[in-house]
Symmetry: C2
Subunit: 404 residues, 2 copies
């Protein structure tokens, strides 16, 4: 059994780095806060003999040897970066629970046969640099490092420059190596486990997600003298297509999702009709074929603007729906039975680094419920008992996986 | 008669400071470009004996003595700051034509009885710092310097800090002094003169304008796992009210204007349902009472969001409809007759520093047409013959005004 007080103390100490006044956290990828968070994490790792490596994407691997160093390592990873208005658990919990698992094994002087590597994946959130899960994506060979390096944040800083200025540009080339299995513990970030009164979700797969950037263009002109009839105001183009987008996604039923997270005008000036309205479109569905159809239909609608406007669609990212390894699912299930936990299978609505890892080797995920299903919000909250349950399931899944 | 080549050369040299690749200009208030533009202007002023003063808002006064220094000065002013995607004439033309007028008088060794002060008003555009016309507004006592000092640009820099860093914090306190009259030459920034094939507009007044900031609030949450039915997505609140806003303003007829120039989400993250959608609202009408009614009705609509959302309305600025001095209108009219110009009376759709000056003393404005009525756009264009006509009308209005 893991130590509750220690796990909670890891979490609350980490939450202080980038803490917001309302209890949330702003520790975005490749910032000074991100660097400080990792530094703190490393002091904890060093205390029980972890040995760190950093790769060229900023992914951080901390290795704990088992009894047989020729065996493939088990990866236990998640991320320490947060959304700009993030909480204290998304990603962080997975990393710090993995740390607590290693502390527990260390307390008990229990050595596994396999080495374990705790991984802190870089830029999982995708809020500062598009796309999400870019550290694990490059690791898995699904994203190109040279593309990600060029990705710019809203201030025009590139991933590569931020990597260097935050001291996270590791010497090791970011590339996949063989692993025995990969386990990730995460908060659900949705309302299902809470509604079903379960303390553990055994994640069977992750829904597909597509990201686009839509640019609606009109003509910039003066807000005062220009008659309404002579304007090409792209806000009116936005107004025309918004209901169509939401209605179309609703046609695809309860499992379909659409989010417009970024929305801006260019130029951005009170007394100027903008030239462009630019917005992000995040479309999701657990069934890949349905997501494909839905995306196609929604993009057609984005192109159906009145003829005085121009519409431009750019694909930013595609993360196909995936299913996790049956053996991992089974092991997690066995751990919940062993611990007598109230568990259920669940499909993840959020993307995770495990999506990319699942393309490389046996991968599994464990969820715990979060309050009101709210995440990517400073109010994000998880009950301590669930935090403890999740960490224990992680511990026993690791043991079961490596013992047989 | 003024010298065409010299006027055009002033304009094209000034356009190089902050020049954009597509021919437009980005020389926003209190930037390094703004400072460089004023420096260039001052070298031209010094060459013919102009003496400069700078006040605590960054308004720049350049005095040219007449034959009687006890007489009140005539002000001829406009602004050198531009929109982020601005052209080469808005404001700039009025300042440089006034300069050309003084050069012409200098060439002819003609001294007026009254002193003349060319004024470069600070932050006229209102795009970097809200509101517009803030230099002249504080000068006229209609805006408070301490409020404007606190105004922040989109990067969080205050007016006061920008004033200092751009070296425009003058030692003289910004406050009104008596003047004999004030004349401003400007491009129309609308389509009327062109449509009516007139080369001069005799401006009889300026329409009223109200600026608001509307904040629609929902609840930030994760774009993936959160079911659509559980969301409080403020983009949907925006979608609900946008058509109502445009429809309502259309009910007020052809002279009514509404512009949403700034539009943004907070937080701004692709995979996060935003907490807030914030937008600016610029409402205008030439009849003050109509503008008042229209604003009231539009703001009510902004408050009529579905009950899961919150709506907050903040008044940013009110600039009431004004009428210019009849004597100034008459003098400008006489100048156009003297020069045999094709002129018509016109109401300005744009705000100008003359709005605030008209509350202090006799004030008049002259317009010239601009191509397709387009302004606040890098494509802004004015035919050289119109630039010359306007400057000549300014010259002769000045002479007529001071000679009688
Ligand atoms: N866990 C998490 O918030 N990941 C970000 C990727 C996504 O948008 O789902
Ligand atoms: N001339 C001009 O563009 N002034 C800005 C003030 C306004 O918004 O009308």
């Amino acid at each position: 059994q893991i130590k509750t007080a220690r796990l909670l103390s890891f979490i609350s100490k980490m939450a202080k780095i980038g803490a917001k006044s309302n209890g949330g956290c702003n520790r975005q990828a490749l910032t000074e806060e991100d660097r400080l968070g990792r530094e703190l994490f490393l002091t904890w790792c060093h205390a029980i003999g972890g040995v760190a490596r950093l790769d060229s994407m900023g992914n951080l691997f901390v290795r704990f040897e088992g009894t047989d160093s020729t065996k493939l390592p088990v990866l236990m990873g998640s991320h320490l970066d947060t959304q700009p208005s993030g909480g204290n658990f998304d990603g962080v919990y997975g990393v710090l629970a993995a740390l607590e698992v290693m502390y527990t094994l260390h307390d008990q002087k229990k050595k596994l046969v396999h080495p374990v590597e705790i991984v802190v994946w870089s830029n999982e959130e995708g809020s500062r640099f598009t796309p999400a899960m870019s550290g694990s994506g490059v690791f898995a060979g699904k994203l190109k490092q040279s593309d990600i390096y060029k990705s710019l944040d809203d201030q025009g800083v590139s991933y590569h420059d931020a990597l260097i200025s935050s001291g996270q540009n590791g010497t090791e080339l970011c590339q996949a190596f063989p692993f025995f299995a990969s386990l990730e513990l995460h908060i659900e970030q949705g309302p299902i486990l809470e509604a079903e009164q379960k303390s553990i979700g055994i994640v069977t797969g992750v829904q597909g997600m597509n990201w686009y950037q839509i640019t609606l263009s009109g003509e910039t002109t003066h807000a005062g003298p220009t008659p309404m009839s002579m304007r090409k105001d792209p806000v009116q183009a936005l107004m025309a297509i918004l209901p169509n987008i939401y209605d179309k996604v609703a046609e695809y039923g309860e499992q379909a999702r659409v989010t417009i997270g970024k929305l801006t005008t260019i130029p951005s000036s009170t007394n100027t009709v903008p030239e462009h309205v630019i917005f992000s479109l995040d479309l999701r569905h657990p069934v890949q074929k349905t997501l494909d159809n839905m995306s196609k239909e929604v993009l057609e609608l984005c192109n159906q603007v009145p003829s005085i406007f121009n519409s431009d669609v750019e694909l930013l990212w595609e993360s196909p729906a995936i299913e996790f390894d049956l053996r991992c699912i089974d092991v997690i299930h066995m751990a919940t039975e062993l611990l007598n936990m109230n568990a259920m299978p669940i499909v993840s609505g959020a993307g995770h680094d495990s999506v990319y890892l699942s393309t490389l080797g046996p991968t599994g995920m464990i969820f715990v419920p979060c309050k009101d299903g709210i995440s990517h919000n400073e109010k994000e909250h998880v009950e301590p008992e669930h935090l403890v349950s999740g960490a224990n399931v992680l511990l026993h899944s690791l043991i079961l996986l490596t013992e047989e």
